[in-house]
Amino acid sequence: MCLPAWGRARMTAQHLSDLARLRRVRDRIDREYAQPLNVEALARGAGMPPGHLSRQFRLAYGKSPYAYLTARRIERATALLLNGDLGVADIRRMVGCSSPDVFRTHFTELVGMPPRAYRHRAVDTVADMRPWVPEQAAKTAGLTGTRA
């Protein structure tokens, strides 16, 4: 009777420590999204193979690390577009996106319009326009993926 219970307890402890490891990966994305992060670097930091990290992260958080990183960057970009006078290219670089095309594509996919249109609408709509939040858009955006 004792042995299976010990086995279960060990499995639970292992499972929870794996989840905590994924949490550290997610926190690192939140902390370092502005740097040239990629899944390989995240996996190296977490001491696990990239494919394994992507699968486990998606199981835990409902989207891949790359999709989470992208959503984080776009969220930050919308906030910067709504407030302040920085140009779109400056903002793109500030949030860690090196390619204008990739930035524009992801932004449009997640927010529903390109960055410049988003800013113009914000200027026209004097009423409060909240920064876009990934969770609200997760249902409609293909990039965020679904829980496996």
């Binding site: 929870l16 989840l19 994924l22 926190d27 902390r31 906030a79």
Partner: protein
């Protein structure tokens, strides 16, 4: 209508290692420990900022209400490990001083002090149980 006199007295955060959580709030954030009851993992520890006896945080074991099912308990434990369960928002006039203290400890930083475009400056880190502690600057 009679004006109500209600204050926010105690807020709650779950722990999974009572000694680690108590040490964090006491030694890193400088809170005082106001009471500590129970034993083992079943500890209820009341902490709060010195000089503000009317506001406390209760560090409590999660999911011990007998009405919580085994599945719900597992979900809560997993969410704590994932970092998506408990969180709290604190404030200080000296954000950089507090952040340096936090960084000098073993604490996992989530966000360095950042000027947010919506008009506040804040930072964020994890307590030992995985709760998100966000601190904003009073100015």
């Amino acid at each position: 209508m009679i004006a109500m006199d209600i204050s926010i007295h105690t807020s709650f955060l779950p722990h999974d290692d009572p000694d680690a959580s108590a040490a964090f709030y006491r030694d890193v954030l400088g809170f005082e420990v106001r009471s500590d009851v129970g034993q083992g993992k079943m500890r209820w520890i009341t902490v709060g900022p010195a000089g503000q006896p009317s506001t406390s945080i209760l560090l409590a074991p999660p999911a011990v209400d007998p009405g919580i099912t085994e599945n719900e308990r597992r979900t809560i434990t997993e969410m704590m490990a994932k970092g998506t369960y408990g969180w709290i928002l604190l404030a200080t006039p000296d954000l950089d001083g507090v952040f340096e203290k936090v960084r000098a400890s073993d604490t996992e930083v989530v966000q360095e002090p950042t000027e947010q475009p919506y008009g506040i400056r804040d930072c964020a880190f994890r307590d030992p149980a995985g709760n998100l502690v966000r601190i904003q600057e009073l100015r």
